[in-house]
């Protein structure tokens, strides 16, 4: 135990609703968050079959505005936000000089000179500070509104029907990875068609103090369609099935985008320099030393974070994330392995409590929603 006094946990504007629903609350990224309500499996299935409601107010929301907002961001992150049309979004990463990942992000273009950068809860402060440093000298202003913004997500095939009844925005005209401004239940909001579940869905950004109202409106509107509140437990099983990385598991300072299979996000040829460019160019040329793969466990046992992975008895890597997959009905995992051992179809083993449990390398994602 350390001698430091523990930082008090932050609570979202919606926490009272979670308590009233009997949610199990845990610490996550410095916040008190619901991990489950009725149960992770039930919540997971609800999102796949109907829709689920998530309080994501712990995430970071950083607004970057100004004539050089696009140029400044392009110099700070690995992607090129200048290529975004107004109202569109891109997945990105902010890297250190050595190419290590500081965070993964979604960047939304709100207007010609206006961007919203969404960062993970645990990295919001670091990303805010790093962006502020990197934007110095550019004609752009960073406004960290993480603590001024509540975020409610509705994810699942029933999302569009439930949300359309509450908003003036034409959701039929809102493509995946697009964002629009309007009102939800009369509350001014930014509505993004994006998410972390592999389903169709929306992320609704409102002013902090209106988070509980937005949550209540969506909950009420979704009841007939069987929409239920979902916690971080289901959020994790859903994103793993969808093959999406979790910062802290698949991505960290010691990992570069190429190892994580995210080389397409790095735009080495974009005009202008960016932090990490030289190191990433060298890494792109040199090749990767480890490779992120998907594993379906064919033996008996659940592979979890940190478990060793072998090929023919020889150590080849470590599991980064793993759980029982409710949709596939088997345990699944992501792992870093030696590049030679990462071809789909390769049979590996995962060490689960001293037993070598058989696993097969598969292409990601494990699950794709029906179109």
């Amino acid at each position: 135990m350390t001698e430091q006094a523990a930082m008090p946990l932050r609570e979202t504007a919606i926490v009272d609703a979670h308590r009233a629903l009997g949610a199990r609350l845990i610490e996550f990224g410095g916040w008190l968050m619901p991990v489950q309500y009725g149960g992770i499996l039930e919540e997971h299935r609800a999102v796949r079959e109907r829709a689920g409601l998530f309080d994501l107010s712990h995430m970071g929301e950083l607004f970057v505005d100004g004539p050089a907002a696009g140029d400044g961001l392009a110099a700070a992150v690995v992607s090129d936000p200048r290529t975004l049309a107004v109202g569109r979004a891109q997945y990105s990463m902010i890297c250190a000089e050595d190419g290590g990942v500081i965070d993964d992000l979604i960047i939304y273009r709100l207007a010609e000179d206006s961007f919203l950068v969404v960062a993970n809860a645990g990295n919001a402060t670091v990303v805010s500070d790093t962006l502020a440093d990197r934007l110095a000298g550019w004609e752009a202003v960073l406004d960290d509104r993480s603590l001024a913004t509540s975020l409610v997500a509705i994810q699942g095939p029933a999302s569009v029907g439930v949300l359309q009844a509450l908003t003036d925005i034409d959701l039929g005209g809102l493509r995946y990875y697009a964002i629009a401004e309007g009102a939800v239940a009369g509350i001014p909001a930014l509505v993004a068609r994006s998410g972390y579940t592999g389903e169709d869905g929306f992320e609704v950004f409102v002013d902090w103090g209106l988070g509980a109202d937005a949550w209540a409106a969506l909950e009420r509107a979704g009841r007939d369609a069987g929409v239920i509140p979902c916690g971080l437990g289901a959020r994790d099983t859903l994103r793993l099935e969808a093959g999406m990385p979790l910062y802290g598991n698949e991505l960290d300072r010691a990992t570069n985008p190429f190892e994580a299979g995210l080389g397409r996000v790095v735009k080495l040829e974009k005009p202008g320099d960016f932090v990490g460019r030289a190191a990433l160019a060298r890494l792109a040329e040199r090749g990767i030393e480890k490779r992120l793969v998907g594993l379906v466990i064919t033996g008996r046992g659940i592979a979890r974070h940190g478990y060793p992975v072998q090929r023919d008895g020889r150590a080849t890597g470590l599991v980064t994330s793993g759980t029982h997959s409710p949709t596939i009905g088997r345990p699944i995992a992501m792992a870093y392995v030696h590049p030679d051992d990462g071809e789909p179809g390769t049979i590996l083993t995962v060490e689960v409590r001293d037993q070598a449990v058989a696993a097969e390398v598969v292409s990601l994602p494990f699950y794709r929603r029906p179109r």
Partner: protein
């Protein structure tokens, strides 16, 4: 309420005593704390267990938890249905969610188990 015909451990296991055979499972309180059980690992028949030794593992979506032998003895049966239906631990913890049956080697071990009232006090204080 914890069934009054069973005995309990502070590790939230229940024990049904029938002569020198003990049937062991997890209480409803334990199952609720764990959340959805997705995997159960049980010992082979014939294995000898010391009292308080770990005899297997129960896994929820998010966590792995050890199972502790409430009494010493030899494993005479393990619930094979849990391989295909681990959710029985949540749905029917005192019935089809049973874990193992043990032939008790030390009769004195059973005396250390809590009765239902004592177990209820334990979980309401905890």
């Amino acid at each position: 309420m914890a069934p009054s015909d069973l005995r309990y451990t502070k590790d939230h296991e229940w024990v049904r005593l029938d002569g020198d055979v003990a049937t062991v499972g997890l209480t409803a309180y334990a199952a609720d704390q764990l959340g959805d059980v997705v995997f159960v690992e049980l010992p082979e028949v014939g294995r000898t267990l010391a009292q308080h030794a770990t005899f297997g593992v129960v896994e929820s979506v998010k966590a792995v938890s050890d199972l502790f032998a409430p009494v010493a003895g030899e494993v005479i049966e393990a619930n094979g249905d849990l391989a295909g239906s681990p959710e029985a631990v949540n749905g029917d913890p005192y019935g089809t969610g049973w874990l193992i049956r043990v032939r008790i080697s030390n009769p004195g071990d059973a005396d250390q188990l809590l009765d239902a009232a004592a177990y209820e006090r334990l979980i309401s204080d905890g």
